[in-house]
């Protein structure tokens, strides 16, 4: 080997090391990213859990849609319909509209009205999309609006209703995670995290 090659490699490595160190130092000296607005944070959480449910709805095999782990609990499809139904109730309360399909009273849409996987996926997607639209449209001011809760004799801030829906969806997401693994399937979000 000629003498010039080791010298070239040394220079190259030195240059790479100094460049990396400089980039690191620059990143550390940068001020932290400013906080998003409240509406943006709410929208982020809404979409995060909502899209996890959409991903499950799209991913789970249709022939297992009526699977449930134990008797006296909701099937996979009923869990999704219930979570999305609850989301629609919140969206309707905050927006003061009757957005979304008619699924009767309460927050347990009948499987008879959403017979196929495509029907369920569409319903779950619609709920997430409509909620996101209202959060975006109403912005921060919308979160502070007081809403007469249709199903209780009280007023709540819109922010409280959004939080309730996000929490409720997370609860049912947790249940569906266990349904997934019972069928030797890994939830889409866990697959993504392991990549």
């Amino acid at each position: 080997m000629k003498r010039t090659l080791p010298a070239f490699v040394s220079v190259l490595l030195f240059t790479m090391a100094t460049t990396f160190a400089a980039a690191q130092a620059q990143a550390q000296n940068q001020p932290p990213t400013p906080a998003r607005s409240r509406a943006e944070e709410t929208l982020y959480r809404w979409n995060e859990i909502g899209n996890k449910l959409v991903a499950m709805a799209q991913d789970f095999p249709e022939d297992k849609y009526d699977y449930k782990l134990e008797k006296d609990e909701r099937t996979f499809a009923q869990n999704l319909l219930h979570a999305a139904g609850y989301e629609f109730l919140m969206v309707r309360a905050v927006s003061g509209t009757n957005v979304g399909p008619d699924f009767g009273q309460g927050d347990n849409p009948s499987r008879d009205a959403f017979k196929t996987k495509a029907d369920v996926v569409k319903f779950v997607q619609q709920a997430v999309t409509e909620g996101a639209r209202v959060i975006e449209e109403q912005g921060d001011a919308g979160l502070d609006k007081t809403i007469k809760v249709p199903w209780a004799n009280k007023f709540d801030h819109a922010s409280y209703l959004w939080m309730s829906a996000i929490e409720h969806s997370a609860e049912h997401y947790g249940q569906l995670v266990v349904y997934y693994r019972a069928n030797n399937l890994v939830p889409p979000d866990s697959r993504r995290n392991n990549e």
Binding site: D156, H157, A170, E171
Partner: protein, 202 residues
């Protein structure tokens, strides 16, 4: 009808009318949407209410599981066609919720955590008994209540960890619900109806 009966009936009706008169006046005076609705809560009270709700659900579920099942994982059921390899045990779910509570709420309160408390999301290794684990859970929620008590509209957008104070609160409560949902299934897999579902069906 005898005359005495008529007198008694009239007296009863008069007493009823007098008793209901102030109620009717109150209802008439109030607006159609405000008549008996409770007012909205303060920000701190509202977030604390959300926290108390999930705390009750999780503590009740934890109490409902017998101690000998605390290390239950669905893997032990060997459900045909299932794969639960590496998932949290029931106790592991509780310790994970509590450890996450500590880490995230301490970002709001500024508290310094004890060494090894988070332990990569598994909580302290030395907590073994049901009583110890539930106490750890309750203490973690106590820190949460301490944090929510400080929330005001003025400080909710201050930084807390990677998010704002209110953003952190939303995340930690929602994340607890995810694990609550899993714990509910663990209970049912052991033939135990979750306390919240028992209340509904009663």
């Amino acid at each position: 009808m005898k005359r005495t009966d008529s007198i008694i009936l009239s007296a009863v009706l008069m007493v009823c009318a007098l008793a209901l008169w102030p109620v009717g006046k109150q209802v008439a005076a109030a607006g159609p949407r405000q008549q008996t609705s409770q007012p909205t809560a303060t920000l701190a009270a509202s977030i604390d209410h959300q926290l108390s709700r999930v705390e009750k659900l999780i503590v009740d579920v934890a109490e409902a599981m017998p101690e000998e099942k605390f290390n239950f994982t669905p893997e032990s059921l060997k459900i045909p066609g299932s794969n639960y390899k590496g998932v949290f045990t029931f106790a592991g779910q509780i310790k994970h919720i509590a450890a996450s509570n500590y880490v995230l709420w301490s970002q709001v309160t500024g508290e310094k955590l004890a060494e090894g408390l988070f332990n990569d999301g598994h909580g302290p290794d030395n907590l073994k008994t049901k009583a110890e684990i539930i106490q750890f859970l309750k203490d973690s929620f106590a820190l949460g209540h301490k944090a929510t008590a400080t929330f005001t509209p003025e400080n909710m957008l201050r930084s807390a960890g990677k998010s704002t104070r209110i953003g952190t609160a939303t995340f930690v409560i929602a994340e607890s619900y995810n694990h609550y949902g899993q714990m509910v299934e663990y209970l049912r897999m052991n033939g135990i109806t979750p306390p919240a579902s028992r209340e509904k069906s009663e």
